[in-house]
């Protein structure tokens, strides 16, 4: 029958299962051991039987002749046969159930044989009792059963047929076999109890062993799973435990480490003597320098590299044995992190100090030109020039110079901020390097002339007609480098050399800016590229500046995937070199240097150029009075006629009613901003060029302006040269007088009427009241937009959505609903446009003239409320 798992087996715990396995192993060992003992006993009994036969009855006689006594043969062969199978099974199958049973039967058969051959001597009966007791060694009471049965059967059968052979008497009671069997069973009873007790003891031992093994396994698992290296050491300093983390940390395997001296493995040589002394002290006094503490020390790996560790040592007592347990944590990464943090902190503190210095410097730099501007402005206002035109001109020039300086300073700060904020991008486009360089040189020519410096540039080799780069940033870098060269050169020259290096995989445009200036000490050559750093403070005092130019230039060059470097010798001059990729040069025409007009210039003695514009009529729209005056003055001086407006609505009206050759539109204005005004103009077919003015210089602003309908884009603050250059370019592309006026008159916009019967005074009153409320709401929306109170806008839009249709103006409900949805979607761009739509609807509202009596009643009602307003667009009732 195959072994079947008892369902109860499934309910035992893993501990019990392990204990059962241990018990089975013990039992198997017991069976095997006892089998071997019985095998020996069988052989001994066999040998003893043969010896006894040989001694007692060796020969049988017939007169004077003799032969081997049959008892000897019986002992040899019969005893051998009786012992054969038990010995064989005990040898080849020890521990088997069959082996035990065969041994049990054979042993009692030996007993029976002994009793028989001794003629039932009572003494030989003790062999039975001894055999049974010996069988109890198996702890298996079942083996006593066949032995007892054989003994009982033997006594029964012999007692029945030949009692002399077992009892030694001729006749005996028929129950005497039972008495003999009873004594055997009596012994069996005690042997059974002994077996059961022994089995229970074995069970308990197995359970305790299983518990101990589990505890050891658990302990081992905990130690192996520990994130720290766990090292155990005895009082002699030898390693007794080494977990897997210790292997990883120190590089020694467990086999190598256990038994070795800990000092030789992981303690640096300079600390070993102290370790040994501390160990001896602990053995003597029970006190250790680091026992029970966490310390940070240096340990040694297998490859002899030292590394920092955090060490905790405890004393462990197992029974009467003392030892140490060390928990070692590799803190190399923590130290590195701490060091990095410390360095970052120092860098942050240094940056903070630099920024503080910068701010202090900036404060001074800003105040200086401001003071100049304010001071000289004040002088002009107070008439300090005394009517002297030349002096007045000087005052103005000073103001202009200071303004330019201040503008440059602010531009630099803004640029650096944008760069650090990641908001400055490079926009690659095809541009002419020769033109860029010429433009920059021409701009700086004035300064060079003033300082009587020789400013010249040359091209070495063929020059590509165009390269792919960011012209604005490239120009900015050149302005900075050449400007610095001019600034820091007291006398001598500034020489620019440009060439194309086609040897690298990607061609480079290399420009060297060499000057005969003050030079830069070698130790400062790298520092000057850091923000807020100059060569030294004396430079700042003598030459001014913020120390941002080179930092910005380096960032810009790196953003263009180029590099910038400097070679300098104090007192002899510096050479700054930039190299930027040119982009693909396939299909690009190369020009020889002599074919470029104005490519070489000794600029001493040349005068600056004056830009003039064609006699165009320009509409200047800007809400800033100062800007209107300044820009207007620049344009007038350039030969244009200028009219102004302070908001988009006025500009819209003027542009649609008057002929202008160009509109210069500020994009951020109250009432109606430039985006809406431009869009509305374009919707009405306005064709004249519109140049946007915006203070924003972010990447998307130009696209936004162009998307609104602008022709060109200028960023504030306005540079007069840039302004005029842009105007010149636009007017060249759109000559004055060529833009046709739109065919749609401004007042031809469809009027908006209420669908309610306004002939009825009651309905008229409702319409008038709504119109007043609507226009107040629109004003409120505009005001809320100015302070970015979108919740207020949403409230007003929601109210209009509900009332517009009721008052007969479904367009208003529709527009207010769109505005509300745009606010919910946080689409702020659409919000402004939708508010402009509401404003336009407000402009187009016309309340049809009812009968006079009705009109008077409506006016009276509106006047009572003080809400009736009139504009150019609204028809009076």
């Amino acid at each position: 029958m195959p072994f079947q798992i008892n369902s109860e087996v499934l309910r035992i715990t893993p501990l019990e299962r392990q204990a059962a396995a241990i018990l089975d192993a013990h039992r198997l060992q017991l069976y095997q051991r006892t089998d071997r003992m019985f095998a020996g006993l069988m052989l001994l009994q066999w040998a003893a039987g043969v010896a006894a036969a040989c001694w007692i009855s060796p020969l049988t006689w017939a007169g004077s002749q003799f032969a081997t006594h049959p008892h000897v043969s019986f002992a040899l062969l019969g005893g051998g046969a009786l012992a054969s199978l038990p010995v064989i099974l005990a040898t080849i199958a020890p521990g088997r159930l069959l082996t035990r049973y065969v041994i049990s039967i054979a042993q009692v058969l030996f007993s029976g044989l002994l009793i028989h051959v001794t003629g039932g001597r009572i003494e030989t009966h003790f062999h039975v009792f001894g055999s049974l007791a010996f069988l109890a060694f198996y702890r298996d009471w079942r083996l006593l059963v066949p032995a007892t049965v054989i003994v009982a059967a033997d006594h029964f059968l012999r007692g029945m047929f030949w009692p002399q052979s077992v009892y030694g008497v001729i006749a005996t009671s028929s129950w005497r076999w039972l008495e003999h069997a009873g004594w055997v069973i009596f012994e069996d009873f005690f042997l059974f109890i002994s077996c059961q007790q022994a089995t229970r003891e074995m069970q308990n031992i197995a359970l305790r062993t299983a518990e101990l093994e589990q505890a050891q396994q658990s302990e081992h698992a905990i130690i192996e799973a520990a994130l720290d290296a766990v090292v155990q050491m005895d009082l002699e300093g030898r390693v007794t435990g080494w977990n897997s983390q210790a292997v990883d940390t120190f590089g020694w395997s467990a086999d190598e480490a256990v038994g070795a001296l800990l000092a030789d493995l992981i303690i640096p040589p300079r600390y070993r003597e102290a370790h040994r002394q501390d160990l001896h002290r602990f053995c003597r006094t029970g006190e250790g320098a680091f026992v029970g503490q966490r310390i940070e020390i240096v340990a040694l790996r297998r490859d002899r590299r030292e590394f920092p560790v955090e060490l905790g040592i405890t004393v462990v007592q197992t029974g009467e044995e003392l030892g140490f347990c060390a928990f070692v944590n590799d803190i190399t990464k923590r130290r590195e992190a701490e060091e990095a943090q410390k360095q970052a902190k120092e860098a942050a503190e240094a940056a903070n100090r630099a920024k503080s210095e910068f701010l202090a410097n900036m404060s001074h730099e800003i105040r200086t030109p401001l003071n100049s501007i304010l001071g000289f402005s004040d002088l002009l206002l107070r008439g300090a020039d005394g009517g002297d035109e030349a002096e007045r001109l000087d005052f103005v020039r000073t103001i202009q110079t200071s303004s330019h300086h201040l503008l440059t300073l602010l531009n630099d700060v803004l640029d650096l901020s944008k760069i650090e904020a990641g908001q400055l991008d490079v926009e690659l486009s095809r541009c002419s390097p020769s033109q860029l360089l010429a433009e920059v040189v021409s701009v700086l020519r004035v300064r060079a002339i003033e300082k009587q410096l020789c400013l010249e540039y040359t091209w070495s080799g063929a020059i590509p007609e165009t390269i792919e780069s960011d012209p604005a940033r490239f120009r900015q870098v050149l302005m900075n480098l050449i400007g610095n060269a001019v600034k820091f050169t007291r006398q001598g020259y500034v020489r620019i050399t440009a060439r194309v290096d086609r040897e690298p995989a990607e061609p480079l445009l290399v420009i060297d800016v060499e000057d005969s200036g003050i030079g830069i000490p070698a130790e400062n050559c790298e520092r000057i590229f850091s923000p807020f750093e100059q060569a030294d403070s004396s430079v700042t005092r003598e030459f001014g500046g913020t120390g941002l130019g080179l930092s910005i230039s380096r960032r810009l060059v790196e953003m263009m995937r180029g590099r910038i470097s400097v070679r300098s010798e104090p007192g002899r001059g510096s050479t700054f070199t930039i190299a930027i990729p040119t982009g693909p040069l396939e299909n690009v025409r190369f020009l020889e240097a002599h074919s470029l007009a104005g490519d070489r210039g000794d600029v001493i003695g040349q005068e600056s150029q004056v830009v003039t514009l064609p006699p165009a009529r320009i509409l200047l729209v800007d809400d800033g009075q100062t800007n209107r005056k300044l820009i207007g003055l620049i344009l007038k001086r350039a030969g244009c006629t200028v009219e102004t407006a302070d908001n988009g609505r006025t500009a819209l009206d003027l542009a649609l009613t008057s002929q202008y050759d160009l509109v210069l539109m500020d994009m951020q204005m109250p009432i109606m901003d430039g985006y809406v005004a431009t869009r509305l103009l374009r919707e009405r077919g306005y064709q004249a060029p519109i140049v946007a003015l915006t203070a924003h210089a972010l990447l998307g602003d130009e696209q936004k302006c162009l998307a609104a309908g602008c022709t060109a884009y200028l960023s504030k603050p306005i540079d007069s040269q840039r302004l005029l250059a842009k105007m010149a370019r636009v007017l060249t592309e759109h000559p004055p007088g060529t833009a046709a006026m739109p065919t749609v008159a401004p007042d031809a916009r469809p009027q908006l009427h209420s669908t309610l019967p306004v002939d009825d005074p009651d309905f008229l009153e409702i319409v008038v009241e709504f119109v007043d409320t609507f226009r107040s709401s629109v004003a409120g929306i505009d005001e809320a937009l100015g302070i970015s109170d979108y919740n207020r806008i949403a409230e007003l839009a929601h109210a209009l959505k509900g009332t517009g249709g009721t008052a007969g103006f479904p367009d208003i409900s529709h527009a207010a609903g769109k505005l509300e949805r745009a606010l919910q979607a946080t689409d702020l761009d659409s919000v402004e446009l939708l508010i402009a739509d509401l404003k336009e609807l407000s402009d187009r509202i016309v309340i049809r003239e009812p009968s006079k009596s009705l009109c008077a009643a409506a006016d009276h009602a509106a006047n009572d409320r003080g809400q009736l307003t009139h504009t150019r667009e609204n028809q009076p009732c």
């Binding site: 072994f3 008892n6 109860e8 087996v9 309910r11 035992i12 019990e16 204990a19 059962a20 396995a21 018990l23 089975d24 192993a25 039992r27 198997l28 069976y31 007692i56 009855s57 060796p58 020969l59 049988t60 006689w61 017939a62 007169g63 004077s64 002749q65 003799f66 006594h69 049959p70 008892h71 019986f74 062969l77 019969g78 046969a81 009786l82 054969s84 199978l85 199958a93 521990g95 088997r96 159930l97 069959l98 065969v102 039967i105 054979a106 058969l109 029976g112 044989l113 028989h116 051959v117 003629g119 039932g120 001597r121 002399q164 052979s165 030694g168 008497v169 001729i170 089995t199 069970q203």
Partner: protein, 228 residues
């Protein structure tokens, strides 16, 4: 009893090795059966040998003349013939001792030891001789050449003859239950009955011991008892 206890009480074959195959089980059963058969057969053979009596001859039913043994005229005379080397006769001597103890002064015993021609006295005077000599009321006698055995007709060691004072044979046979077997037996019981005046149910019992005569090598088959 816990589930674990019940688990342990069962024999889990895996704990003691792989489960034997059916062929091995059949072979093991057959082997055990053969072994038991051989063992039991051997035990039976031993038993059978022990129950096999010696072949006695025709004894004189009257005290023979010419014997040098003396017939006692006051009490019966018991003559016991022994082979001095026969191991089974130790039991016979033991029973003789019990008999003489029970029937003290009621019988005289002569223990006649075979001494074939050419055999020395040392060959005869074994532990049996000395044991016989120590039995009170028994006289150990050497039978040189086996002449007395021939006169009385004894053929098997342990053969016991009891004669009345008149020389009439009262008992002939063995006084052990089987070869070398001490303890109650019919022969001793009969002699004791005769010596105490009771009648015995039978006057002859089997004799378990070695042959006193050499196997015959002549055509007549007659055993020769008195020479080498």
């Amino acid at each position: 009893m816990t589930a674990m206890t019940r688990l342990i009480q069962r024999d889990i074959p895996g704990a003691c090795g792989p489960r034997p195959t059916r062929r091995i089980l059949v072979a093991s059963a057959a082997l055990c059966a053969v072994w038991l058969t051989v063992v039991i057969g051997g035990l039976c053979r031993v038993e059978s040998y022990g129950q096999t009596a010696g072949q006695t001859g025709t004894v004189k039913d009257h005290w023979p003349s010419g014997t040098q043994l003396t017939l006692n005229h006051e009490v019966p005379t018991l003559v016991l013939f022994l082979h001095p080397q026969c191991p089974c006769s130790r039991a016979t001597l033991g029973e003789l001792e019990v008999l003489l103890t029970h029937c003290q002064n009621r019988v005289v015993a002569n223990v006649v030891f075979l001494q074939p021609d050419g055999f020395s006295n040392d060959w005869v005077e074994t532990d049996l001789w000395h044991a016989a000599a120590r039995i009170p009321g028994a006289t150990a006698i050497r039978d040189e050449g086996g002449r007395e055995m021939n006169r009385f007709g004894a053929r098997v060691s342990g053969e016991t003859l009891l004669y009345q004072v008149s020389g009439e044979l009262l008992f002939h046979g063995g006084i052990t239950a089987s070869r070398g077997h001490h303890g109650d037996n019919k022969g001793r019981a009969m002699i004791e009955a005769l010596l105490t005046g009771h009648t015995a149910p039978t006057a002859e019992t089997p004799v378990y011991g070695c042959s006193l005569c050499r196997p015959s090598s002549s055509a007549s088959g007659e055993a020769q008892c008195h020479s080498k």
